[in-house]
Structures are given as C-alpha cells and as structure tokens.
Amino acid sequence: MRILIVDDEKLARDRLRELLSDIGGCTVVGEAMNGAEAVERTAELNPDVLLMDIRMPGMDGLEAAMHLMGMENPPSVIFTTAYDQHALDAFEVNAVDYLLKPIRKDRLANALTKARKLTMKQLQEISQARKEPPARTHLSVHLRGNIRLVPIPDVIYFLADSKYVVVRTASEEHLVEDSLIHLEQEYGGRFLRVHRNALVATAFIKGIEKSPAGTWQVNLRGTDKKLEVSRRHTAGVRRWARNRPM
C-alpha cells in the first residue's frame, strides 16, 4: 500500500511515519505540508491512501480531497484531526474515516485495512456542517486526467462560453466546470459581474472607459483584453467604480 502523509506539523508527520513502519505492509511514498501540495504530490506519486490533516494553512484537507475527486482514479483518504467538533459529527453521519490526534497505532492499522474511496457528496455534506464553510482557495482544472490547481487570487476574469467557463490568469487560460452563478455566490465581493457572461476580479481592474462604439469597457491589468460592460450591468459597474477603495 502506497501512502502519502499530509500535515503541516513536521513532528506529526514523523509520528505517522513511525507508526506506519511499526505496522508494516505499507510504503510512505511522500509527504506534503498543505492541501495544494497534497494535490500536486498525488498527481505525481499516485498513492493508494492519503493520511491527511483537516486543518492546514492555505488549502485545507477537505478542499484538497474535493479537488482529488476530479482525478480519474482518486486515492482513498483518511482524515486526521486534533479537534473539530462540528466536522466530526458530520464525519460520523457520512461514514468517512478519521483519526483523532494523538494518533493510536491500533486505530491507524484498523483504518488502513478498511480505507475507502470518498464521494463528492460525503465531502460536500461535511463541508456544509462546518461553522463557516470556507470558499475554495483554488479551482481545479483537469488536463488529460491530471489536475492543475489555479489559485483564486491569480484569476483575472471568468468568461462563460456556450458550455464551459473560461478562467483567465496572467499566464494561462483554462476551462472549468463551475457555473458563473455558482462562482459569483462563492466569491462574492472579490469578483464583479460586468456582463451576463463575465465576472471580473476587482483587484485587476485598471479602469473603465468608453469604447469608440459608445459602450463601456473594463481595462484590466495582466491582459490586454478589454471586457465589454453590458447595458444592464453598467449602473452596477459605475457604482462600484465610484465607491472603489483607493
């Protein structure tokens, strides 16, 4: 059994390594310090099981597990946690494996023998049960069965095509499967709706100007592309521009 250990505390990772070598019958193929690293390592090393802490800086364990769901053959995940009353109730209800810290050898061995693959539904229900379900820190993009993470702060705009949504960063362009409405709800204040098919990151807006054709356009940092403001959204965009914190 190939195992990836994910925890932000080095000594906690060491402990898992030691317990696993006591138990035997498995290989630790690597370690990661946060959710984003866990997704990258998983794509690279193809482990069977992830032992993953829930609370980590940057991307947490639950979000990482959700991104992994997009893989063709996602690994099993066993969560570890020190204390997380609300989440743990949801773990029980949805029959998702978890280990409480300090981690016990017999519990770990037991969890490994019955490690199961998670479903997106389980993860979503656990996420809902948390006090303040955090928005995702990254979007996952699927490239030929592999996963690529796009950090939300890098996103300049989302543009809806007929079927997909295009996400644009300074250097890349990808297709994601989320809908614009869903993205707008999730990231509220960070993005501004300028058109029925476009959400723009307010941090990247350089200015708003009138085009020769008489319509309004948004000028953006990081790209030369100008996005058109639809008539319906003009009032909203100009209101935002007036109240813009300088």
Binding site: P57, A82, Y83, K101
Partner: protein, 379 residues
C-alpha cells in the same frame, strides 16, 4: 535495568497521551439536561415525595379533628382521612404526569397556573366521587348530605394552600438543579476558551512523537504543559508578578514552537519593571495565542510575532504585533475575535476604566496594545 525502566515509562506516557482524546467526549453529557420548566411528575421519586407529604397532611388533619365526628378512634380517623387525601394527591400527580407534554409547551407562568387549576379541579372531583361512593355503598342515605357543602369548602381550601406550597417547593428545587447545570456548562465553556482543544491535542500528538525520537524534549514539553495548565486552572482574580507572566508565556511559546517549527519566530523586548508590578494571571499568553492562531497558523510560511512590554507613567504597557494572512476568500465575515472581547471584559472588571485594550489592523499587521495600572486593582 535503567533502560528498561525508561522504556516502560515512555510506553506508559505514550498510552496516557494517546488516551487523552477520550476527555473531549465528556462535553456532550451536559447536553442531556432536563430543560423543562415543570418537574417531571411521572418520576418515581417525585411521586414518593408527594405520597409522603400527603400522609403527613392526613396525620395533621386526623390529630386536630375532634374525636367521634368521623369515627370513635384516632386510628380509624387516620385511615379514612389518609385514603381520602392520598386519593386526591395521587390522582393530581397522575393527571399532571399525563398532561406533562402539553403543559411544557405553554409559556412558563401559564403552565404553572394551569397545573394549579388542574389540581383544584381534581380536588373537587375526588370530593364529589367520595360522597357518591359512600352513598352507593349505603353508608349515607343521600348523595347530598348536609355536610356536602362543608366538605367541598374544606377540601378546596386545604388543597389550595397545600398545592400552592407544594408547587412552589418542587419548582424551587427544579430551578436549583437547572441553574447548577447551566453554571457547570458556563464553567466548561470558560475553561475551553482558556485551554484551546486544538492546541492541546496537537501538542499531545507531538509529545507522543517526541517520546521516541527525543525523550528529553518530550520531558521538557510535558513540564511546560503542566505549568501552563496550572495557570489556566488558576482563579480568574489572581494577580501575578510580570516576570511570572513572561515565564508562562515563554513556556507556551516553546510548545507552539514544537508544532510550528521554523514557521514561528518571536521577537521579545522586555523593559525593566518594579518588583511589585503585577497583572492578572494569563494576560500575556492569550494575547500570544491569539496572534499565533490568527496570524501565524494560517500562513503557510509562518512569520514573526513581536512582543514588547514596558513601564511608563505608572502603567504597564503590552504590545503584541502579528502579520495577517491576505484576506482569505470567505463566504461569511469571520466573527470578531472572542479572545480579545473576553480579555477586555476581564480588565474592565478588575480595573474599571483604568485599563485599556486596543486592537488595530494596518498594512497587513495586527497590533494589540494593552495598558494596565501597575499596582493591582482598585481595591
């Protein structure tokens, strides 16, 4: 020999550390508190109490009643009166037991009033039933004997007084139980806000890890944790010398350093203090914990917390500065820090307006400044 002892000790320690999470499951038991306003009249103990009190009442009535009104001897009087009083008391209890669910859905005062009226109605019904029973068994010649009205007036008056007193008694007892439980829960919450479970269990996990790789470090960590817990269990009003507060804070930081490793740096700047300078126990440590929890833990690369303590114009000044993570994309606004709110109200109760706590955020740094009078409280 020595090695085996050491091994045994470290094994024992590891088991002890591993079992700690069981303690966390203590909390839910407090939730099973009977939240109802009225006591549970179906409960055996309550029924027994009612029967005992009814019997005492019967004895009093039998004793004060002139002989040969009911029957020639005291024993016969007592028997008759007991049957009558118990009949009323137990029927009343049974009715309240059956109506319990419905009564508890009413607002408190109305539930109480309804219960009282129900008991009076039971008294009238039983008195009437007793007269009919006597008539049907041929003891009296008519269902409307001359003393019929007197019996009702007497029963109702006694029932009104005794039931009033009894309901009052049960209610007071029940209220006391409820208050004791809610105080226990409040204490638990206060303790949890001091001893953050996430910190405790992560630290125990790491100590378990160290018992193998670095037993000496594990030993120090446990000593530090013991000192920290001792402080956390201290009375809220305890005042301690500034130096003690700094010592405890450093022990706390040593534990956090084990977890966060190089992600946590702390810059100290401690001025000189008069020996008599004191502050409330656990003033500095929660400030640092707050800085670490909100400033260092969420940052993948960590950062530096700076702590400055100095004395100026007869006041102790504490300033803790920590970096802030870039605003995370959040669905909801995060709740304002409860730690700081708690501390502010603690200072208020010690020093009134003589102490201040200011929190400010600018340029991605969060600064908390505390000012305390050097010499104890106002007392």
């Amino acid at each position: 020999m020595e090695l085996s002892l050491k091994e045994r000790l470290s094994g024992w320690l590891k088991t002890a550390v591993e079992r700690a999470p069981a303690l966390a499951s203590l909390e839910p038991h407090l939730e099973e508190v009977d939240a109802d306003f009225l006591p549970n009249f179906c409960h055996g103990w309550v029924v027994f109490n009612v029967a005992v009190i009814a019997e005492m009442l019967a004895l009093v009535i039998a004793l004060v009643m002139p002989r040969s009104v009911l029957s020639p001897t005291l024993a016969q009087d007592l028997l008759l009166i007991s049957v009558y009083v118990q009949w009323i008391a137990l029927t009343g209890t049974a009715v309240l037991c059956l109506a319990r669910g419905r009564l508890n859905r009413l607002p408190n005062l109305r539930a109480l009033g309804t219960a009282y009226l129900v008991l009076l109605a039971v008294t009238i019904a039983v008195a009437e039933a007793a007269v009919w029973l006597l008539w049907l068994t041929g003891r009296i010649s008519t269902p409307r004997p001359v003393w019929h009205g007197d019996l009702h007036i007497l029963s109702l008056t006694i029932s009104a007084i005794i039931n009033g007193l009894l309901l009052r008694y049960f209610l007071a007892k029940h209220e006391l139980k409820r208050r004791t439980l809610s105080e226990a829960r409040a204490k638990l919450q206060a303790l949890q806000s001091r001893i953050r479970p996430h910190f405790v269990f992560n630290s125990l996990n790491i100590i378990a890890s160290l018992t193998r790789s670095a037993p000496a470090k594990a030993e120090t960590a446990i000593e530090n944790m013991a000192d920290l817990f001792r402080m956390m269990l201290a009375e809220d009003e305890t005042l301690v010398p500034v130096k003690n507060e700094v010592d405890v804070a450093k022990k706390y930081l040593a534990l956090e350093n084990l977890r966060l490793d190089s992600r946590l740096q702390v810059e100290w700047d401690i001025g000189t203090f008069p020996r008599k300078a004191v502050m409330p126990v656990l003033t500095l440590q929660p400030l640092l914990e707050n800085a670490i929890q909100h400033g260092i833990e969420p940052l993948p690369a960590g950062g530096a917390v700076s702590v400055r303590l100095w004395e100026e114009n007869d006041k102790i000044h504490i300033r803790v500065v920590n970096p802030l993570p870039a605003k995370k994309p959040k669905r909801a606004e995060a709740a304002p820090s409860r730690t700081l709110e708690n501390m502010r109200s603690r200072f208020q109760s010690y020093y009134g307006d003589a102490a201040t706590l200011d929190a400010a955020e600018n340029d991605g740094r969060f600064t908390v400044t505390v000012t305390l009078p050097t010499r104890g409280g106002e007392s």
